[in-house]
Each structure stands twice: as structure tokens, then as C-alpha cells.
């Protein structure tokens, strides 16, 4: 199949490109990029004047819940949500049932993913067996089976000794160690950010230092081992400073932020009347943290944006704030939120946003895509910067509805995705 995308504004930070031109895709690859490409015989042409074409967007932090928690999400529903949200690839975390801590689970996820051609699926393997933080998982076998990183996400690796060994051993397979950084003793029974709002509502708090302390420890271990470290959902000003300092010293360190930590604060917990859709971990932080994160995005310390798409069944979230599970969905809101609040909002250029949502994720995790250079995988996202959307969780293709962004009116939306040269129909 050959597809010619004609007349779009093509934004590809991997080759410093941002201009109106044409793109020819064939046999799953980018064949030609340039002005006035002729449509030969049998070429399907899409006229895209006024639209934006980018390398396929990649969300490196999602929970697809399969196997074991199919009432929350499946690989099929999660990848359909990804496609609807403008993503051509997702990485899925290991906290399934059973945990993805051995090659047979990885192979199962990949074989399920092959049956549904909505988006590429990159499994993340566990760091420790059963996410228990006691023994290393079979990281070599996981790597051979196809994981692109290892993480006990949802749970931090608490033991410094085990973290040291994981950072060291994973070097054999060139896998990043992906950490949910949280000192569990400091976070205790907390359910939201510890600060003036948790104080006023009498909710137990998770202090920012719970993240900072763990990041500081981890960075010392990265220095010792020479390992690769990726910090998930960075949420505090202080841990951003720690990452910046570590990068300055040449450590192999990367980090991600989520749209919700960029756009909301702990005040949302109060304003929403303690809606459980404002409960996630790490929690929504205070305004000074949020502003620091926006700065970190603009000045390049932050490597990428990821949604931490964490679907839960409505019955699980429709309960007391303290009892509700942590997490919100993000696959179908991330792109519009970023286009409206970050690009139209003047925080970032469109090119920088695409770098954060496509090029950098591909580089950090060694994935296909992230570029429209000739010979690259023909994974493409088409955006309409003028589209007006109102977020309606009831219309999500994800099985879950747990979003704090319902009712938000946003300008800019994903239109279509193209996966390996084929239009995706989510």
C-alpha cells in the first residue's frame, strides 16, 4: 500500500523540519519527503492542507491492564484509545496479573498486541519478581522476549541494594531502569500532596520530599553503577533540580512528566469536592512545583511527556477519596491538552511538543518511529490545530472514564494515525 500525504505542515524535530510539504509512505516505510511529490499509479492521496503531520506519537507510560485486569482495560481497548488519542505506540507497565516478570507474560502481551493493529505495544518488564522488591526478575530473558525497559511502576524499588544491582545488571541488555520514585515511609498512608490543601481537608499527605529523597538516592546509585535511569512522572521542583544536576554531570538520566502534573495542582482536589478523579500517584502538587515543571519542559531538562494512563473501573473509583485507587486515564486527552494549554498557551513550540511526544520517547527507549526521515517506520500522526473539542469521558474508547478533564474545552486535536503506512480505524 502506498499513501501520499499532500500539503500538510510537516513537523519533524528529528530533522529540524517544520514546513508545508509532501510525504510518501510505502511498504510500511517513509519513502520520500519533499515538495510536489507525484502521485503515481495506485497511490492513495490524502489532501491535508491546513493539517499538521508529525512522526507517530509515543506514550511510554500506560497501563493496559492485560493480562488479569480486563475489567479495567484490555490491550485492544487501550490501543484503540491510543489511536483515537493520536498515538501510534505505547509502552505498557508490568503491574498486570500475573506481573510481567517473565518471558511468557511478555510473549503473551506481544501476541495479543499483534492481533489488534491499532498501535504498537512495547512491554515494560518488572525489575523484581512479582514487583515484590526482593529478587531481580529474569531481566535478560525479558529483554530477549522484547521488553524495552524495566520498572516496578506503582511501587518503587525500596531496597537501595537491589536498585544498585538492577542498575548494574540492566547494562548488559542496555535497558533503562524506570523508577516510580517514592520513599514509602515518607509517603505513608498519604492520598494527596501534603500541603495547605491536605491540611484543610484533613487528608493524609504525600510530601514532595518522598519523591525527592528517592530520586537523590537513585542518582547516587546511577553514578556508582553507570546504569541508565528513567524517572517516571516527575512531579516536584526539587527532583527536577536533582535531575538537572545529574544530567550536568553526564549521568545517563532521563525523565518524563504527565499532562496532569503540568496543568493541575492539589487545589483541584478541593475544587472538585474530593473527586477521586483527582487522586493519582504521585499526587497533584502545589503551584510552585507545577510552574517549575513548565519551565523544565521549555528549557529542555524534561525529556518527554507521558500520560501514565491508569484506567480503573467506575465502580472502583466511585467511593471514598481515601479508599479509591490511584490513577487517571490520559491517552485520549494528552494531545489536546498539550496543544491547547502548552502550545497555544505559549509554553512550548509545536516542534518542541512533538519532540517530547515522539522523537525523545523513541530515542530514550530505542523504539521504531520518532522520525519521518526516509527509511523510517511509516508511523504518522495527523493533527488539526483548529479543531475545537470538549472532553467527554463517556465517549472515550478506553474502558475507563476516570479523567479530571471532563468538560474542558480545548483547541487542537488528533485527527488520524497511520501505523506502518496504513490508516488506523479505531
Amino acid at each position: 500500500m502506498t499513501l501520499l500525504l499532500r500539503g500538510a505542515r510537516i513537523v519533524d524535530p528529528s530533522q529540524d523540519l517544520d514546513r508545508q510539504t509532501d510525504l510518501l509512505l510505502a511498504d510500511g516505510l517513509v519513502v520520500q519527503l519533499g515538495d510536489a511529490i507525484e502521485a503515481g499509479e495506485g497511490v492513495e492521496v490524502m489532501e491535508l492542507a491546513g493539517k499538521v503531520v508529525t512522526p507517530g506519537l509515543i506514550d511510554v507510560h500506560t497501563h493496559l491492564r492485560e493480562p488479569g485486569q480486563e475489567h479495567k482495560e484490555t490491550i485492544e481497548s487501550g490501543t484503540r484509545a491510543a489511536a483515537a488519542g493520536g498515538f501510534t505506540a505505547v509502552a505498557c507497565m508490568a503491574n498486570t496479573e500475573p506481573v510481567n516478570d517473565n518471558r511468557s507474560v511478555t510473549e503473551h502481551i506481544l501476541s495479543e498486541a499483534r492481533r489488534h493493529s491499532y498501535a504498537r505495544v512495547y512491554p515494560i518488564g518488572a525489575i523484581t519478581k512479582g514487583l515484590r522488591g526482593e529478587e531481580l526478575a529474569e531481566i535478560g530473558q525479558l529483554s530477549a522476549a522484547g521488553v524495552v525497559g524495566i520498572s516496578d511502576d506503582g511501587r518503587p524499588v525500596e531496597s537501595a541494594e537491589l536498585m544498585r544491582r538492577a542498575l548494574s545488571y540492566s547494562r548488559h541488555f542496555d535497558l533503562p531502569v524506570i523508577q516510580h520514585a517514592q520513599d514509602m515511609a515518607l509517603s505513608g498512608s498519604g492520598v494527596m500532596h501534603e500541603g495547605a490543601w491536605s491540611t484543610q481537608m484533613g487528608l493524609p499527605g504525600i510530601p514532595g520530599v518522598a519523591e525527592d529523597a528517592m530520586v537523590a538516592r537513585d542518582l547516587l546509585l546511577v553514578e556508582l553503577t553507570g546504569g541508565r535511569y528513567h524517572l517516571q512522572h516527575l512531579s516536584t521542583e526539587r527532583s527536577l533540580q536533582l535531575i538537572q544536576e545529574a544530567k550536568g554531570r553526564g549521568l545517563q538520566v532521563t525523565c518524563e512528566v504527565t499532562p496532569h502534573h503540568l496543568l493541575l495542582t492539589d487545589e483541584a482536589v478541593f475544587e472538585s469536592g474530593m473527586s477521586t478523579d483527582t487522586k493519582m500517584n504521585p499526587p497533584l502538587r502545589q503551584e510552585s512545583d507545577r510552574l517549575a515543571l513548565l519551565e523544565g519542559l521549555a528549557d529542555g531538562i524534561i525529556d518527554l511527556i507521558a500520560s501514565d494512563h491508569a484506567p480503573h473501573h467506575p465502580d472502583e473509583k466511585d467511593c471514598e477519596f481515601s479508599d479509591a485507587p490511584f490513577g487517571i486515564v490520559g491517552l485520549e486527552t494528552t494531545v489536546s491538552l498539550c496543544l491547547d494549554r502548552l502550545v497555544a498557551g505559549g509554553v512550548l513550540t509545536l516542534s518542541r511538543l512533538i519532540d517530547l511526544l515522539s522523537c525523545r520517547p523513541a530515542q530514550v527507549f530505542g523504539l521504531e518511529g520518532g522520525s519521518l526521515k526516509e527509511g523510517s517506520a511509516a508511523d504518522v500522526t495527523i493533527l488539526d490545530l483548529e479543531a475545537e473539542v470538549t472532553v467527554d469521558p463517556r465517549s472515550f474508547l478506553s474502558k475507563a472514564r476516570n479523567s479530571p478533564f471532563g468538560g474542558w474545552q480545548l483547541k487542537g486535536a488528533p485527527v488520524r494515525t497511520i501505523l506502518a503506512g496504513r490508516l488506523v480505524e479505531p
Partner: protein
Amino acid sequence: MPDTAWQAKDLLTIRGLEKGQVELILDTAESFREVASRPIKKVPSLRGRTLLGLFFEPSTRTSSSFEIAAKRLSADWVSFSSASSSLAKGESLIDTARNLEAMAPDLVVVRHGHPGVPRMLAERLGCSVVNAGDGAHEHPTQALLDAFTIRRSKGRLEGLEVAIIGDIEHSRVARSNIHLLLLMGARVTVAGPRPMMPLGIEQMGVEVAFSTEDAVRDADVVMMLRLQLERHGATRFPSLREYFEVFALTEKRLAGAKDDVIILHPGPMNRGVEIASEVADGPYSVILEQVANGVAVRMAVLYLLTLRREEGE
């Protein structure tokens, strides 16, 4: 039965109330107070009304106070405690709410260990909901009865210096009192051990002190809080003995307060922990008056909400 001047469906928090609403409750409580001194302690105001008490957390004092208040108003009072509720059988709170709704109560009083639960129920129930304490969030009727007690003693709330001392972090009583006292024009100082002083408390508009002496200096009112032993791990303070030695309200520490200072405590008291017996039983103590006033204030709340004027009428 005439409609009351009250309009709001629920009483969930002190935050958000207006001065006039607080005054209406306190004035109404004043008129119910003498019922306790009658030989037959009953008025017919809520005859035929069904009031439900839902106590998802152990409560003796508050649940008894609400029950007596309801019965003195001639209401039919039914109460569930966590041990006998279906919550123990795994029913979700939402389903519990739906089942309650089906029994058509006029008002539900709810106590729960988690902040926000009364509000959750209020959003789902057509009847009135009264918060009888939700975690460390709020306990509005306690603050109202404290204000009632202070007003009866001092004749006013405005301009008073009030010290609230103890385990501020875990205290819903402190939070409701802070909102109410500031609303009514009092000044509030909170004090307690630093590990129990929650972050950002000063953003509620209070002064913060870290010794009992500093907090009570020139105080008109001292409110001691119960040390919530059941909510603490061993990381907040080393021992009860040390707590008493460093923070408890004793005669000596009270010396800097105004001569006519009054002492409140929401109970139950830990004698010899946060308060010395000589103070609890001393001449400034209004602790038992608080308990008596609690019934009158809760009568006022049940009466006003049950017979509220529908908005727009």
C-alpha cells in the same frame, strides 16, 4: 409547622457557612436549651419525622447527643453503627446510600473515618445530611456547640483570643473551630508539638505557636484537643509522660491567660496526658457545659434542617 429561616439542605462543613447561618443555629439552640430543665424533656417539633444516624466510626458521646436531641424533638431516631452496618459485609458506600434513600428518611447524620464521605452521601441523597465528623476534616456541630458555650460564657465571639492546643493534624474539631471562630471575628492561635502541626496551617488564617505557654498568653478561651492515640504511630512523640511534661495544660501553664479564661475540651479527655485534672475539674472549666449545650445545638441543627425553607420560596 412553619418553615424555618434555614435554607441549606445539608450541614457538611463550617467552611462556606455565613455568619447569619451560624447565628441562626446558635439563637435557635438558645431557645431549645431550657427543654433540658423541664420535667418532660420533649417538644413535638419533629413528630413523625425519621432521622437516621450512621456511625461508621466508634462514637459514644456524639451519637448519644444526636439521639437525645432527636428524641427531645419527638423525631423517630434509628441509628446504625459500623459493626451492624452492611458496610462490614462489603457493601459499597454508594449502595448503602441508595438503600437508605429507599427508606425515605428526612435527615441522615453521618460519622465516618474518611474526609468527604458526608458530602458524597449528600450529593446522592434527597434528604438532609449532617456531618457528625469525617476523618480529620470537619466536625461542624462540635464547633457550633463550642461557639455556643463560649458565647454563653463571654457574651460574644467577636474579638476573643482563642487558643487551640494539641494534636492539630488529626483534629477535625480544630478545623471546624478555626473556620467558625474566624468567621465570627475571633482570633485563633493553634499550638502543639511540631510533628503534629500540619503544613500550611497558617494559610487558614491562624497564628501558630509551639508551646502551650505561648499559646495561652492573654487567651480568653483555651480549647484543648484530645491526643488521638489511636491515629498515631510511635513517630510523632516519644511517650505520654513526655507529652504531659512538655505540652499539657496545667495550672502553672495557664497563669499567662486572662483572669476569666475558660477551658474547653471536646472529649473524651485523656487526663494526665493533654490536660491536668486540676484544670479539667477547676473553676475555669466549661467542659460539662459543652456536653449539655451539645444537645441543644444538635436539636437546633436537626430542627432547622428538617423543617428548612425550600430555596426560592
